[in-house]
């Protein structure tokens, strides 16, 4: 009953005209950037973050959350029609979605992707409502050792589950933690690693880092490319999947939803991992695995559902423990801080309007997305035809304004450009930017809780092993770290 009562309260917040408008803008922009290859949700969220400074905190988070889950919907369109994933989480959708389009079945592929996303997104929000409050209560039992161990586990899991090299992901996370130390020390209040640059006293801004790593580097990678994508020249009809399509897809959708949601709760286990996991499961349990890769509709339905359910699950650790599980959540974490709210176990209690408002607008946003996606597909196809030469200067201008407006200072622009160059080189040398951003966001929490724990225990690391929650988390983290190292040498 409590949940229902809170949900009604959430709808009273979410249905306010301004919040509805920002929810609509968020899902519309999310779909758009999901459709457009070359800019992902992290880039878009970081570009738009400064534009939210003048909004109310609730409207700002509603819009940014809308961009995130909206991008998961939009990502499938380019995968199916162009064979280029709009987002990393839609990579597997290319395998069967594009084949379906080539066979003249682009309509059902787009349709099942949209319906699957809607079902999974909605069920994911139900899961978010059910699990968030008990987890927040659980989080209240956390002291410094627990927080340190859980953050360490989060960082380890993120690197362990990263797509590329684990050692490189760990290095990125460590570098992110080092960057987070720049500025005034939280305990002693003395400046460190500022090199007499006064702008560094406040530390480096997350917006400039994220825009550089994800926005500018994406532009640099794209402008040196020599190829352009071909759009399938087929009439998109029969967007509503047939009964046989539904029969083949419904269990894939439900399995994808459950897998995606629970993987989404894990740090590092966001939409991308969920979509790959769902595809692998569907292929393994299929009686006709040979059809996968040749246009199997389950290969579209499962992953597209999984990535949407994961985007709902991702909110749980952020809202309940104040621990962001991926780069997008790290940006939302930053946005909450900028708007004066501390993510953590008390967030739901102290700001029920924010939590339940966001949850209610996620329901509304999912309906909006379903309504938007199907009729607007021809429009998205037209937008796909906008040449990158026109698009990237516009994105760049957004980045420049965004990074300047953080502190009304050219320093933010310079930081963004430097991280743009770094992000470009990271991609060339196969380093992922997401662990860096996460290390940067979690760094202050990691440091504060580590130092406080050591002060309490008079320098004994046993404090992390004598308290049950902390002991479990740190043991898993250590096992994962050791396993990562051993597997590197076993592989050889």
């Amino acid at each position: 009953m409590d949940i229902l009562h809170n949900l009604f309260y959430g709808f009273s917040v979410g249905l306010q005209p301004s919040n509805l408008l920002f929810c609509f803008l968020g899902v519309l922009m999310g779909t758009l950037i999901g459709v457009l290859p070359g800019i992902g949700p992290v880039g878009a969220m970081s570009i738009l973050l400064p534009a939210t400074f003048r909004m109310s905190p609730i409207s700002a988070i509603i819009m940014l959350a809308g961009i995130y889950y909206g991008a998961q919907y939009g990502g499938s369109t380019t995968s199916i029609l162009v064979n280029i994933p709009g987002e990393a989480s839609s990579i597997v959708t290319c395998l069967d979605g594009y084949q379906m389009a080539k066979q003249g079945r682009a309509g059902p592929a787009l349709g099942i992707a949209a319906f699957g996303s809607f079902i999974a997104g909605t069920l994911g929000i139900v899961g978010l409502m059910i699990f968030a409050s008990p987890l927040a209560e659980f989080g209240l039992k956390f002291g410094s050792p627990e927080y340190f161990s859980v953050v360490l586990l989060g960082l380890t899991l993120v690197t362990y589950l990263s797509r590329g090299s684990k050692i490189k992901a760990l290095m990125m996370a460590a570098f992110g933690v080092i960057l987070s130390c720049i500025g005034i020390d939280q305990i002693n209040a003395s400046p460190r690693m500022t090199f007499n640059v006064t702008q560094l006293w406040d530390g480096i801004d997350i917006v400039s880092i994220a825009m550089g790593l994800f926005g500018i580097s994406e532009i640099l990678i794209n402008i040196e490319e020599t190829t352009t994508a071909e759009i399938i020249k087929t009439r998109i009809r029969n967007l509503l999947p047939s009964l046989s399509d539904w029969r083949q897809s419904i269990w894939a959708i439900l399995r994808g939803t459950v897998l995606g949601f629970f993987l989404g709760i894990l740090p590092g286990g966001g939409p991308t991992l969920s979509s790959f996991g769902s595809y692998a499961i569907e292929k393994r349990i299929s009686k006709t695995p040979d059809r996968f890769g040749t246009g199997a509709i389950e290969g579209v339905a499962g992953p597209e559902s999984a990535n949407n359910a994961a985007s709902a699950g991702n909110f749980i650790p952020l809202f309940t423990l104040g621990i962001p599980g991926n780069a997008m959540m790290a940006l939302l974490f930053g946005a909450l801080l900028i708007h004066g709210m501390r993510p953590g176990p008390l967030l739901i209690k102290d700001h029920p309007d924010l939590f339940w408002g966001v949850v209610s607008t996620m329901y509304i946003g999912n309906v909006m997305l379903l309504i938007l996606n199907l009729p607007l597909i021809p429009l998205w196809v037209k937008i796909l035809k906008v040449p990158y030469g026109v698009l990237f200067p516009l994105i760049l201008v957004f980045c420049l304004i965004g990074s300047y407006s953080v502190r009304n200072d050219i320093f933010g622009v310079l930081v963004m450009i430097i991280f743009g160059i770094l992000g470009y080189l990271f991609r060339k040398f196969d380093y992922e930017g997401a662990p860096l951003l996460l290390g940067f966001i979690l760094g202050p929490m990691f440091e504060l809780n580590l130092r406080q724990s050591l002060l309490f225990s008079k320098g004994s690391f046993l404090i992390f092993f004598t308290r049950p929650i902390s002991a479990v988390a740190i043991t898993i983290a250590i096992i994962l770290l050791i396993y990562s190292f051993i597997s590197l040498f076993i592989k050889r």
């Binding site: 402008i223 490319e225 304004i401 380093y431």
Partner: protein, 152 residues
């Protein structure tokens, strides 16, 4: 693992040493009473160990994927240099000339980078984009943009 891992590993090892060195004067402290340099120092050590491991593994593997320059083979890398140079010049001129003039200039250049088109179209597109973004961000969203010596 490849030559690029060896070079990038060495780069990170240098960064790690640098971080450790600058952490010492900040004050590492002890385990009993960790100082402001505690986390940077140990993170630097961790980064250093990982980068050395990366270099050793890539050497032991012995497989090379060609020169570092192969990462840019067949790509229009000069456009990247051009964009970055123009961005650095932009940051230098922005406080002096103001948002409208500097952004218009930057956009004239950027609109011509991926698409060959007539100069007047390029100039017109740049001017319209700069003005529209000015209206949206400065006038509508009240974002403070630098005015420069011409007050624009």
């Amino acid at each position: 693992m490849s030559l690029r891992d060896q070079w990038s590993g060495l780069f990170w090892a240098a960064i790690a040493i640098f971080v450790c060195l600058i952490s010492v004067p900040i004050g590492i402290g002890t385990f009993k009473s960790p100082g402001p340099g505690f986390l940077p120092f140990w993170s630097g050590v961790f980064l250093g160990v990982l980068s050395v491991a990366l270099v050793i593994m890539s050497i032991l593997q012995g497989k090379e994927e060609g020169r570092i320059s192969s990462l840019w083979r067949g790509l229009k890398w000069h456009k990247v240099i051009l964009v970055l140079t123009s961005l650095f010049i932009y940051t230098l001129l922005l406080p002096i000339l103001g948002y409208l003039i500097t952004t218009s200039g930057l956009l004239i250049l950027l609109f011509g980078i991926r698409r060959k088109q007539r100069l007047w179209i390029q100039v017109l597109s740049a001017l319209i984009t700069a003005w529209v973004s000015y209206l949206i961000f400065y006038v509508w969203l009240e974002v403070q943009l630098p005015k420069g010596i011409f007050g624009s």
